[in-house]
């Protein structure tokens, strides 16, 4: 027996109360009919959605037109026009459920306009799209150009590390003082041109910003936070670029002050070589305690590091431009060293300067 007519009348609410009751009893005793009913119910729900969508789209169309043409006269004319074409627009709407919201506008604008106006509009749309695309291509091209490092040898290189994920990095001022163009090379080997945001001669610190507003070091936040009171003899490690490859080193704090009692620096027992200047010094939990700065020429293992409270001062002086909040969370504590290093690698870079 075919029940489709009953099912439809039931779902469209066309049955009387008695009919409903009889039909429901029938459905309860007939599992295959029950299944069929639920399927049709789902389908009808989708029809309902499509109907609602057609209504909303028609209304949006009216709202937009009203917005762009304020004259009462034109508006009323348009209302009539819309009413007249509402059926067509609705068809367009139901056809457009095949496509996305944006494509929809192309479809039903087309139905709403006279033929030539329609073509003109489509052409305009195309032109706009092409213009947009062109701007994008130009921007990309500019980005590519600015992000190509010169092919002549650099005038010095060192290490920098991220202050936030959006392109701010810190290094030693002496690393970048030898040239005009500064490039950061991320782990993937890509060059990124930098602006120098801040130079602090007193503490030998420079803050760099990658010259591309869409750039991110990583989609994760910077994984270290500042530790401003490290203890004597605390174990520390660094990650730096004495060559074109990242090098790991570890040591300990051998004195809480630098050379000649310089309270802005720690003295570390840590092997270092040129190029690690600017490298982050981290404690075992992965908190940042300083920046590798210089080494004692007489004694092989002695390295000096700028203390993190100086870094804090620098961050404070930057104000809102760089978001120092990111240096307030630690994602490294409790991890073993190799995992810490893996997490850090995205945030430590080679810096090179060119004349």
């Amino acid at each position: 027996m075919e029940y489709i007519e009953h099912i439809e009348r039931y779902l469209l609410g066309e049955m009387s109360q008695d009919e409903r009751r009889t039909f429901e009893a029938l459905v309860d005793n007939n599992p295959s009919l029950h299944k069929e009913l639920t399927e049709y119910e789902q389908l009808f729900k989708q029809f309902e959605h499509a109907k609602n969508e057609a209504f909303v789209k028609q209304q949006i169309l009216i709202a937009r037109e009203q917005d762009s043409r304020t004259t009462q006269n034109i508006t009323t004319k348009l209302q009539k026009h819309v009413n007249k074409y509402w059926r067509t627009a609705a068809i367009a709407a139901s056809v457009a459920i095949l496509a996305s919201l944006t494509t929809f506008w192309i479809v039903d604008n087309a139905y709403m306009q006279q033929e030539d106006e329609r073509i003109l509009q489509l052409v305009n749309k195309e032109v706009r799209a092409i213009k947009k695309k062109q701007v994008r291509i130009q921007n990309d091209l500019a980005a590519v150009k600015t992000n190509v490092a010169p092919d002549y040898p650099s005038n010095g290189s060192g290490t920098a590390f991220a202050l936030d994920k959006r392109g701010y990095a810190i290094t030693n001022l002496h690393v970048i003082n030898g040239g005009k163009k500064v490039f950061i090379f991320t782990k993937d080997g890509k060059a990124h041109k930098c602006d120098i945001v801040l130079k602090n001669e007193e503490n030998d610190i420079a803050v760099l910003k990658i010259n591309d507003s869409n750039f991110q070091f990583s989609n994760k936040a910077v994984p270290y936070q500042l530790n401003k009171d490290a203890s004597l003899a605390a174990s520390i490690f660094t990650l730096g670029y004495p060559k074109n490859e990242v090098v790991y080193n570890e040591g300990y704090i051998s004195s809480l002050n630098g050379k000649d009692g310089d309270s802005s620096k720690y003295q570390l027992e840590l092997p270092s070589s040129p190029g690690v200047s600017g490298a982050p010094v981290l404690d075992i939990r992965g908190n940042l305690i300083g920046i590798v700065n210089s080494k004692e020429s007489q004694s092989k293992g002695i390295t000096y590091a700028i203390k993190s409270n100086i870094v804090q001062q620098i961050l404070d002086s930057l104000g809102d431009t760089c978001n120092p909040i990111e240096l307030k969370q630690n994602a490294l504590a409790g991890k073993n060293r190799t995992d810490q290093i893996k997490a850090l690698e995205d945030f430590v870079f080679v810096v090179k300067v060119y004349k």
């Binding site: 389908l43 989708q46 109907k51 209504f55 909303v56 009216i62 709202a63 609705a90 919201l101 994920k165």
Partner: protein
């Protein structure tokens, strides 16, 4: 906001539920600026923000049709909450979601509005919408046109019979039922 605002909003929304054109236009104008701006603040372009706004109005419209729907916050607050959720979902889908937008959304989220609807069921519905579209396409003409005319455009059987050249309403209806059965089969296979 005082309670009167909500009462007025709720009255407008009751008319909207009945498909009242004036009510829709009123809502559209009242929320346009504040909602699109709020989405643009979450790194959307103007066009993207408008698309999200329009999609959110559809959510609102369907919500108003639910029997127990009562607005307990400002209308614009509600629409913003819907729009933000939709936009975050889109960003996530396009792999553009960053901490900044998440933080922003969290900071500005409105708990009452948030508890109103479930973004996942919306996504599911979106999926079914595509499914219906595909099924209709597969069904082909004139079957899909007959079904759309009746169930989506709300035409009467007599109009449909005339439009599709059936000798009488009954024949058109039989044909429609055949089409519906085929559509169901495609939709659920």
């Amino acid at each position: 906001m005082n309670k009167n605002t909500f009462i007025k909003d709720n009255i407008v929304l009751r008319s909207l539920a009945d498909g009242d054109q004036q009510a829709f236009q009123q809502v559209y104008k009242a929320c346009y600026e504040i909602v699109t701006r709020s989405i643009q603040n979450m790194s959307a372009s103007k066009n993207e923000a408008e698309d999200i706004y329009h999609a959110s109005l559809l959510v609102l419209y369907e919500k108003t049709k639910e029997a127990d729907f009562i607005l307990e916050c400002k209308l614009s607050t509600y629409v913003i909450a819907v729009a933000r959720k939709k936009w975050l979902k889109q960003l996530e889908k396009e792999k553009r979601l960053t901490q900044k937008e998440q933080d922003y959304a969290e900071l500005h989220s409105h708990e009452i509005a948030n508890s109103y609807f479930d973004i996942n069921s919306l996504q599911k519905q979106e999926g079914q919408r595509v499914q219906l579209a595909k099924a209709l396409e597969k069904l082909g003409s004139p079957c899909n046109k007959i079904l759309m005319a009746f169930y989506i455009e709300g035409k009467k059987m007599s109009e449909i019979a005339q439009e599709f050249n059936y000798t009488n309403d009954h024949n058109a209806k039989t044909q429609k039922h055949k089409c519906l059965k085929r559509l169901k089969k495609i939709f659920f296979d």
